[in-house]
Symmetry: C2
Subunit: 179 residues, 2 copies
């Protein structure tokens, strides 16, 4: 029988459904409960994620959420695309530094795949990030449209697929659920 070995994993939550970021946060909570040090780096700043930010404050130290990046892109012709790109590059730089810092056991690169999909960061840069991951560190990447090269490199990939959504029946975003 194989003895239990410690191995930092690369995990990907992708797909068009809900739960990509939320599952990453749940994982963060689980890891934190195990005494691990957790960093969430948000590549897309989401002002509505107020609940998590407040929770993270209460769980500090050892649970840190850093909001970087800009908000979601308003279509292909978003006039602020340069700002988005600049902000995402800053997040990428921070990710590179923290991955090598040895300060964390689990780092969540939230919506990095969204930034990748919109060309705010390059595939080469993201693959370079993964390549420098220290052995013991767990990395979680979230966002739609995970490209095959990332899936190839990952240990665990889950697709969150939308089966039914209340927005389509006119129910608006709910406090504690969507924000």
């Amino acid at each position: 029988m194989k003895s239990r070995q410690k191995k930092g994993l690369i995990l990907v939550n992708t797909g068009n459904g809900k739960g990509k970021t939320t599952a990453a946060l749940g994982m963060a909570l689980r890891a934190w409960g195990q005494g691990m040090r957790v960093l969430v780096l948000q590549f897309i700043k989401g002002g509505w994620k107020y609940g998590e930010l407040k929770a993270a404050e209460k769980l500090a130290p050892g649970f840190e959420i850093r909001q970087m990046g800009e908000g979601f892109i308003k279509g292909e012709n978003d006039s602020a695309l340069d700002e988005h790109r600049h902000a995402a590059q800053q997040a990428l730089k921070a990710a590179g530094e923290e991955i090598l810092s040895g300060k964390y056991d689990l780092i969540i690169l939230d919506e990095i795949l969204y930034a990748l999909h919109f060309g705010l960061v390059s595939l080469d840069d993201v693959l370079a990030l993964l390549a420098q991951k220290p052995e013991g560190l767990h990395l979680v990447l979230t966002g739609r449209n995970a490209p095959p090269e990332i899936i190839e490199r990952a240990d665990l990939v889950t697709e969150m697929r939308e089966v039914k959504h209340h927005f389509t029946s006119g129910v608006p975003a709910q406090k504690g659920i969507e924000f």
Copy 2:
């Protein structure tokens, strides 16, 4: 424009992939951060979920995880099936009471769909639970094989689909990730 309305939702996390319970926990964290009172009722006791249990302790009051049920079933001929059924029925009873108690804003019925799939609780009983949900309460149901009747009744359904898993390449369960 529609004004923001408060409506308790029924959410379902299903599918063969990872992240059903984890996303529910992330949602619990988000809700808790918003000052909501959260109860997680585990229909299948999972001893390895040590991380969350410790985190929940730190987040108390307002974040409660109650382990009920027995462990996962060891195949169709599990000799302890009666015990499993009894434990799941107890969890169902507790769920019914807490749904009506007014003490929570979000209740997660973790792995209730697993219990349903193995016949530990009946579809009628679960539908009856949903029918008595007070307007403002959010309910989350997790587990594989959500039946159509539950999907029909739910507001938001997400399928977590396994695309790739490290177990299949021989990497064992990792602390902070799987337990």
